[in-house]
Amino acid sequence: MDGNDEQSCIDRVLRGEVNAFGPLVERYQKPIFNLMCRVAGSPDSAADLTQDTFIRAYQKLERFHPGKRFFPWLYSIGLNLARDFARKNTRDLKTGSTLDPESISGCNYPGDQHDSMCASLEFVRLEKALDELPLIYREALILRYHDECSMRDIAEALSLSLSAAKMRVHRGLEMLRENYKGGIHGTQKRSI
């Protein structure tokens, strides 16, 4: 599905076809769900927030500017909901790993067990280091190096100027490096 297909889906939705929204949900539910997992911690809350994000996007779809990319616009809606959730639930936020080592491994061969375990620990450590970053720095890094978004898309998703988005990515990498080198610091409070 490319930009034209997305625009076609949006046009059909605006003409009253609810099911035309399905391909957009299918395509982007995973990154939005993972965003919510990073913020909410629990999969149940993340699923609720993901659902709210898509419903909010559907309600505001006529405000989506034709010709722009859908994902950064959707991500900005999700990010606003995530911020609201984080403000209301600061005390309940989990600071432990949201990664499930069993799902990371995915390999049952005895010879690969050690490597898989090391990789799992690396990811857990990375997640801890990411978790200590302010939300906007963390999401800038995820969008840039995990979802491979352009700087322009990151700027739109984070509601920043292009230069501010570049600065967040650059500064976020430096902060992540410091956190990662410093190791896991236990229960440090999340920044929003």
Binding site: L14, N19, C37, Q51, T98, L126, Y145, H146
Partner: protein, 212 residues
């Protein structure tokens, strides 16, 4: 979302030439590259099964005003492509069409009034004895005595000038030797000039030339 091939894998496997300045910088950049690679390959959780159905079931069909749909259609960027080889004949056809429209299109006779074919030949004649020079002055030449000088015929008393004038009403008179204003005695229509003289009035028809 489609996952591309890991772009940081090669960078992390061997030091890039531009990071080989100092051991300190090299170590620092290697750490950054390793982090980028780690973020890139970080596993994702799968969204819960049935989430799409759950979302779609909670949505109501949208009812958008037609003007908004048209507005959004007009806002959408479009890409226009053309081939130069096809553009040249298209431009030639366009120019040819414009030329035909200008030549044969409606309203051609009403435009400007300066075309040669729109002027009707009119011959002015004056019999006047002992004149040195005679001019025709009128509304068609802004009463300029130098613009339309008459010519003598063989008998020396007859002055003639042939002009081509646009159809319509014209006032005129003859100016003899630059000072005597003489109205055309053969004209049935006159108009006072407000200074005690009379100007002759000429009606030029589109269908027939005039001899005055």
């Amino acid at each position: 979302m489609e996952r591309k091939k890991d772009p940081f894998e090669q960078l992390a496997q061997g030091p890039s030439a531009k990071f080989e300045n100092t051991p300190c910088e090299n170590n620092e950049n290697q750490e950054i590259l390793a982090l980028k690679r780690l973020i890139h390959s970080m596993p994702e959780k799968e969204a819960p099964a049935g989430l799409t159905e759950s979302i779609l079931s909670s949505l109501e069909p949208k009812i958008i005003p037609r003007w908004l749909l048209i507005y959004r259609w007009a806002l959408r960027p479009r890409t226009v492509t053309f081939q130069p080889l096809k553009l040249v004949p298209a431009a030639m056809v366009l120019v040819l069409g414009l030329a035909i429209a200008i030549q044969f299109g409606p309203g051609r006779e009403d435009r400007g009034g300066t075309g040669h074919e729109e002027l009707i030949p009119v011959t002015f004649t004056l019999s006047y004895q002992r004149a040195e020079r005679v001019s025709v002055v009128g509304s068609f030449n802004q009463w300029n005595p130098a613009s339309h000088k008459m010519h003598q015929l063989g008998n020396r008393n007859t002055w003639v000038l042939e002009l081509r004038l646009p159809a319509g009403r014209h006032e005129y008179a003859f100016l003899v030797d630059g000072k005597v204003v003489v109205a055309d005695q053969s004209s049935p229509f006159y108009q006072s000039d407000g200074f005690g003289n009379r100007n002759s009035v000429l009606f030029v028809n589109r269908d027939e030339p005039a001899n005055i």
